[in-house]
Subunit: 456 residues, 2 copies
């Protein structure tokens, strides 16, 4: 036996009890809300065909895919001829949940309902350089509606996301804003500022950095990217004069884009999103931001991003992408989705102390073991307590009480039951509150009831 | 856009809604029971260091590990020199949950409680040849207690496993038996039959097949493996005369093994397991079977296996393995565990119709959309229904009712709400029971209450 490196691989994490329970608390909340909105769950394998994964995430993305090596003879043949990265591997690890969704939408077309409203909460894998808050294995929580172009979809998706944050306790100093924009509006704004359609994509990359680098730097970058000075100035100045309030903003945009049918359609979409979402959890948080860009180039309609007060970055985002889900089906399938950033949410909840003090799943009572003779009686009591719905740990072997209380403390168990042969004979046990130190005699038959009243 | 192969990779599976919900139902039951027994959850990464995985599962196991390729320069260097399987890869996929447990026990020694009672429910990956019921990615459900040699551990582990099966509805034609044996008893039985200790391991392999090939074939195989004819005959004859009932069996074993201190210790252990477990769910199912072998060579004490009536194979098994968990710590750490076979359990539950008719998580009500004008009112009703805890799907766009009912049917939604402008004006909606075809007018304000009474 030799000491080995037993830390988890760089960029991956072990989750001990308290972390698993905290993560499960958030995930269960997400699931419950998403199910409440009529979404159904989907799970796909961690391992996908390499051909399914490659070419979907850009060149940089392809490099971040974990490739799984061929085995046996297949591998030998490749090694003996001309081994290349792609020839050595035959499969890879799931990189996101959108490509699997597209694959599933193609594969089960005939079995899936006309509108496929699914959520998927599973780990994804990226061979990225590990950094603070960036992991090589992390959970994605995706919510998507496949099959409809109606803005009810956007409204429902946004209301579901906002409802999750509400249920998790995001309010006060950690309240949130949902920034809402539309790709057509953004494009038309560039167009009316005189930016050539060939420069649009490039200009969008600059505008996308607004949050991080500020107005002046975006202005400079636009010019650097070849946008004419006049156009860049016009775009930036417009931004400065845009009104705050949503209804005013819609009017302002409509006036500005009056010459662009595409732009006006975008404004109408946004108006419908606001109108349809008005009774739901998202309503008070929605703010139209005509310069929200979101990096991913596959968006085609409304886009959104959730920011939490006093925190930079976002806890989630999404939008409409009508050209992506059909990638395996060979036909155009509209879709709109939202992805919650679980790791960011956990981080903020930790800092803002948003977790319940007692997490569901933690043991509530420790039955101590005085000696061997009493073991059957103690285990019988354990059975009865568990039948009353109490989570009961039994110290596995007789030991000094001090040792057993220390163990209870390590496991954050508040109540300890003491049961010596003398106590068994008297028909009364001692229950000790390890927080206050108080202890009380309780008649053995009423212990389950006595504890049930106190542990919840 | 071209048609690609969109089926999941051979040996892996996609799980659509109903399958996810069924699996979640079983997993939640397992979790709740294990937490009730004071166990804490653990989650480890899917990707482990190759050095952590290799050499732990025998030569055959090593071949079944999915290896992840190095990337970038590291890969180039290997490819350009002498590429070998091990040099091309730097990590691999989790093969089981026991090695990660051992790694975690070593890594977090100082933080973990004195006795580490953990469960872990996560997928494992094996590059096995796919076959019926054998997958390359499948969930393992492990329960282990690390740190104690006391038989309370075996009793608790067995009671927890049996409680899971009880809660899942295993009874009647799908009731179960927990076969219980002890490695020391098995070894001593061989010893008193005159089987040389060097032949023990090999003889064990033969005995392990008893279930599958029967007495005579085991007899023949023992001789084939070099066991003297007299010894083989004695071992087989003993088996024939062994009593059925547990207490008699213990007496019979004690008499037989009277000359073997090791054997008697084993019998005493088994007696304690029975005594300690007597008040729990396992008690009526436990049956001592002195020829249960269980393949894995790492067991050191009691071993057990759960068989379901009318089904061959097992739905779970485990035992004590006092020499394994210390593999990374460089010291001996006792442990005992149990692994439930989720896939087998699901299969039997399906065949025996043990799932609840309405699985938690399915949508309960569909709000139909009559026209665009009514969308805000419909979505407002959706919000109110969800606030009452009802799971509500909204048809995403206006369409003929027939289409919308068909969609509800595809999603197994029983209740549909109809809301035209005329109905909105009248203040009463129509709720349709899609199973019976009945429909009823309900005053709009009382719809949540009306439906809440019916959907649960």
């Amino acid at each position: 036996m030799t000491k080995s490196n037993t830390s988890p691989l760089s960029g991956t994490r072990d989750f001990l009890a308290i972390d698993v329970l905290k993560r499960a608390y958030v995930i269960k909340t997400i699931e419950r809300v998403y199910q409440g909105f009529g979404f159904e769950p989907l799970e796909t394998p961690a391992i996908e065909r390499l051909e399914t994964l490659l070419g979907k995430y850009g060149e940089e993305g392809d490099q971040l895919i974990f490739r799984i090596m061929k085995r046996g003879e297949k591998l030998t043949r490749v090694v003996e001829s001309q081994p290349t990265e792609d020839r050595l591997a035959d499969s890879g690890l799931r990189y996101d949940l959108t490509v699997p969704l597209a694959r599933v939408a193609a594969e089960y077309q005939a079995r899936l309902p006309r509108y496929f409203k699914r959520y998927q909460i599973q780990p994804v894998f990226r061979a990225d350089r590990p950094a603070k808050g960036r992991f090589r294995e992390f959970i994605q929580c995706d919510l998507d509606v496949v099959g409809s172009t109606c803005m009810t979809v956007e409204a429902e998706v946004l209301n579901a996301a906002a409802e999750v944050l509400n249920r998790l306790g995001f309010e006060g100093t950690s309240s949130f804003t949902i920034r809402l924009n539309h790709r057509a509006v953004l494009r038309s704004l560039m167009h009316v500022a005189g930016i050539d359609s060939q420069l649009e994509e490039s200009a969008l990359v600059a505008v996308d950095k607004l949050d991080k680098i500020g107005l002046d730097a975006v202005h400079a970058e636009l010019i650097e990217r070849g946008v004419p000075r006049a156009s860049a100035a016009q775009l930036i100045n417009r931004l400065k004069e845009a009104p705050e309030e949503n209804a005013e903003m819609l009017g302002w945009l409509r006036a500005l884009l009056t010459s662009s049918a595409e732009g006006l359609k975008g404004v109408a979409d946004l108006e419908n999103v606001l109108r349809y979402a008005s009774s739901g959890a998202a309503a008070p948080h929605l703010r139209i931001d005509p310069y929200l860009a979101r990096g991913l180039s596959y968006y085609t309609g409304p886009i959104f991003e959730v920011a939490v007060e006093n925190y930079s970055g976002s806890v989630g985002g999404g939008g409409r992408y009508d050209d992506l889900i059909g990638m395996f089906s060979g036909r155009k399938i509209p879709a709109c989705g939202f992805s919650l950033g679980l790791e960011r949410i956990l981080l903020i909840m930790e800092e803002q102390a948003l977790f319940p003090t007692q997490l569901a799943g933690q043991p509530q009572v420790l039955l101590t073991l005085f000696d061997e003779e009493t073991i059957p009686a103690v285990l019988e009591l354990a059975t009865r307590l568990r039948q009353s719905g109490i989570r009961v740990d039994v110290y596995p072997e007789p030991a000094k009480y001090g040792k057993q209380f220390k163990y209870a403390d390590q496991r954050s168990i508040r109540w300890a039951v003491l049961m010596s042969p003398r106590e068994l004979e008297s028909g009364s046990l001692v229950v000790k509150d390890l927080v206050s130190g108080d202890q009380q005699e309780v008649e053995i038959g009423s212990v389950p009831e006595w504890l049930a009243e106190r542990v919840i």
